[in-house]
Symmetry: C2
Subunit: 372 residues, 2 copies
Amino acid sequence: MQNLDSKIIRPTLLLDKAKCIANIETMQAKAKRSNTRLRPHFKTHQSAEIGEWFKERGVEAIAVSSMQMAEYFANNGWKDITVAIAVNVREIDLINELASKIQLNLVVESQETIAFLQSELKHAVDVFIKVDTGYQRSGMPAEATGSIRLLINLMDESDKLNCKGFLAHTGHNYQASDQKEIYKNHSKTLLDLNELKDVFRKEIPGLEVSLGDTPACSISDEFYGIDEIRPGNFVFYDIMQYVLGSCNEDQIAVVMACPVIARNIDRNELVIHGGGVHFSKEYLEADDEGTKLFGSIVRITKNGWSEIIGGGYLASLSQEHGIIRCSDELFDEFVIGDLIGILPVHSCMTANLMGRFMTTEGEWIETMNSKQ
Amino acid sequence: MQNLDSKIIRPTLLLDKAKCIANIETMQAKAKRSNTRLRPHFKTHQSAEIGEWFKERGVEAIAVSSMQMAEYFANNGWKDITVAIAVNVREIDLINELASKIQLNLVVESQETIAFLQSELKHAVDVFIKVDTGYQRSGMPAEATGSIRLLINLMDESDKLNCKGFLAHTGHNYQASDQKEIYKNHSKTLLDLNELKDVFRKEIPGLEVSLGDTPACSISDEFYGIDEIRPGNFVFYDIMQYVLGSCNEDQIAVVMACPVIARNIDRNELVIHGGGVHFSKEYLEADDEGTKLFGSIVRITKNGWSEIIGGGYLASLSQEHGIIRCSDELFDEFVIGDLIGILPVHSCMTANLMGRFMTTEGEWIETMNSKQ
């Protein structure tokens, strides 16, 4: 086994393939136990190669967060893709191109979009109605069955839009203050989707309901009536999910390895090369005084990383610099040129920015964001 | 003139070339008036093509924020590049490669790094000592003349490290609460750099001092004793700089154009395709209650954009979605499929994420972050 330390030159997102695959298998096993389909959301890794790890384990259907991401995965052999964001009508050419090649599933929430698609689509697509079960980002309110029926009626008259069912995202689970709140939000989503199913079952043959969010899919074992789950972040997890209780520390499958470039002994601060262009600027509030935490510290080992080290945290980020605030002991442990590991707050944002990952075996994994 | 609206399919960073060039010329004129050199920081645009706009106006020396950015601009004809971040010793191979080709200027702040470079450099480089004038991110405290002298003595003994002078970044200006605070911070940096110049003038022939930050370089006309200024963000400006008073609204040279994908009439919210992977998640606090503002709203016109529209702002971002909170009037103005313009909070982060820009003439400008 080669020493990882010798392979890392600059800020690098390390990926522990074994942990990642264990996360995939755990979620796949839970879906099977719960008689629901795992349609993993690929927005977190955005990588054809990591997609193969799912495919090898029987996954055939995926969700993505943009039409361009759908195009990338369609070009990499995926035949059943849900674009889990309301249709951007300006992308009609790409929609038509993809709909001619694969089973493309779209998401709508307005009469205007349905009318546009009916007019402009060249191929039939399956369509989910986005419903809002409390996140208040987008979607028809789940209780607005009258308005929802109008959308369904419009699609009934259409020869191109096949209404497939309802899709919800319990996104407010990411802001939950404790697990109880996640259970509560999740229960509301389950209730809402099952009620919609009851109301529209007769009108929509083969009606399906789809829900997705890593916190509930990780924490709950209850998915009655749910046809598919669409978690994404679980493939890597991160500090936000660890704090929410979605994962154990050792399920976090990615860590940023950053070189120490300066040390400030007066403030017990290590300066790393690693900033907002690597991590993103997402943070957690570490206490009631609003102390910002941009990541937790680990040691990079020969072939992976240690448990979280107490006594320090990533306290601030500018474009390329990060500041690690340290105890005396932690400060003394690191010299200039050393690597320090940082578990990211939000792996989706960090992975998107980094564009490629190095496995703990030292191999590069490319994504749709790999640079020229 | 073609209509911009017909060219934009998905979230697009629009660049007004005329405004951008005016920003360059204004800063260049100020540098000339102040008898200082403009060494623009290219971390904001990261684009060889935009670099040419500077070159055509007589700029020959630049700053960058990473060694890879130095490599990119060296490959695009730049011969005098300061990498304005403490040396990452792991990049020694790239440092040696670049030092063999161009005038490479490095930044150090520790004896360890100097000793490493003396041992490993294959070519002579100019070196600036990073000094901290109050930002408390990195650098030797400006008043620590004893410790600074130790670094200079080490370089005196070196045949490869030519100590060129001192480099400071008044980064705390980005957090200033008003212009008075920016003037105060800037004055402290001027005082510190001039004092260092007085102390070490005899020991370092041709000693130079370099300072950089867009707020002070935009607001102040006072640069006595300063050999060069290194502002970066001024090339585009953004809402953060507008709020700080660094620029007028019509100097902001970039805007995100995002399609409206949904409308929520109950909450007067427009949902756009445009999220954290486009804007970054930087925000400003819009009031004392901590209301987050992720961008200000403009109308996209045939060949540019309007003034800021009252009655709405970009209120939240997830990975691909943005939520615009609206007055009744603003809400009624936009339908699904329309473009809405958003002046970004921090153009450096947004430009870095977007990777390419469309000019208001409809031409694409590539950067070192353009994707495959």
